[in-house]
Symmetry: C2
């Protein structure tokens, strides 16, 4: 069985991004206190190396369109993601979108494939690729954003959920678990560093 | 300086109780999955003894009326709280209410004093009592419910916030941090047992 994980950064009041449509090319997480939210990720790299490392290294990824780009409508073919020429995924990434675009091969082994037939189809393609690449030990990661992750949780597709809780209160925005009542979880671990608490849960099916 | 702490149980999606007005005398936390929410507190007493112990032992307490009773309007004088004859507080408890009632002395040293002049007044009385009882080392605890705690957070009255996060998703109810955007916090510790993660934060003033 391919194992499906998801990593998500959340504020202490449960938001994973600023308000809907506040995203821009300069602020992928929209209108929020990004500095405090992501301080552990970019400011405390050594202290959080294990969790930063475990967020990558999957055999295939699924992401929503706005994890890839702030754009709406037809794709801007000049946009190649937020991550520069060599994105950290280094594996096939299936981007769920309503608008077609040819696959985009980047340095380091990352390929963005744009899937217009829905989240489930993108997910099954990622699972198949991960199985081909790594067999029973294959791993798919849901790379975000939070809307895509909530849809995956609601559909029962996620096996392990890793929350990175920053000590910041947004007071509004897009919420993890929005529209996902009743998901059953089991504690796996927690670890705190100066600017974050890492919480790992197994999702019960 | 008297030290002000608050303990609160929250669901993983940030709710501290079921929907407003769903509270009854049989369900102090209203309409929610209380069994999973409070399993650590009543089912895993040994594993969580440190946190259960640290939620009591203060020199004075402040609580909202609906932490004391599900009743609204004039007090039912036959109601003496949820905790039996010997409540775990064993110290003065100031209950914020709009309706007057004579102080209620219980076994073990708990006294409920009903304060109709507002939260701040109740808070200052608790601080004064804690200072009288224990001097500089005195401790006041905000005993809930979540509406009262949010008001205390908004007013900057809390020094240390202890969250007990259960691996359950309510999908609705009364939220911790509702109306308290921008509160600044600092990580202190985290500890997980089977059915809860205990998170401690210092509130920055």
């Amino acid at each position: 069985m391919v194992h499906v994980t998801a990593n998500v950064m959340v504020s202490l009041d449960g938001y994973a991004a600023g308000p809907d449509r506040s995203q821009t090319s300069e602020s992928p997480f929209g209108d929020c206190d990004f500095e405090m939210f992501a301080r552990w990720r970019f400011g405390d790299v050594d202290a959080n190396a294990a969790e930063i490392g475990s967020a990558v290294g999957a055999d295939a990824y699924v992401m929503g369109r706005n994890m890839f780009t702030p754009g709406r409508g037809e794709h801007d073919l000049g946009w190649t993601g937020w991550w520069g020429d060599d994105p950290p995924y280094r594996a096939p990434v299936f981007v769920v979108t309503h608008h077609e675009r040819e696959p985009l091969a980047m340095a380091g082994g990352t390929t963005f494939t744009f899937v217009t037939s829905g989240l489930r189809d993108a997910f099954h393609r990622a699972v198949a690729v991960a199985g081909d690449r790594a067999g029973e030990g294959g791993r798919v990661s849901i790379a975000g954003g939070v809307t895509t992750l909530n849809q995956c949780l609601a559909a029962g597709l996620v096996d392990e959920l890793r929350l990175h809780v920053a000590p910041v209160v947004f007071g509004g925005g897009q919420r993890l678990f929005d529209g996902v009542p009743g998901v059953r979880l089991e504690q796996v671990s927690c670890r705190a560093t100066e600017h974050v608490t890492h919480l790992v849960y197994r999702v019960l099916h």
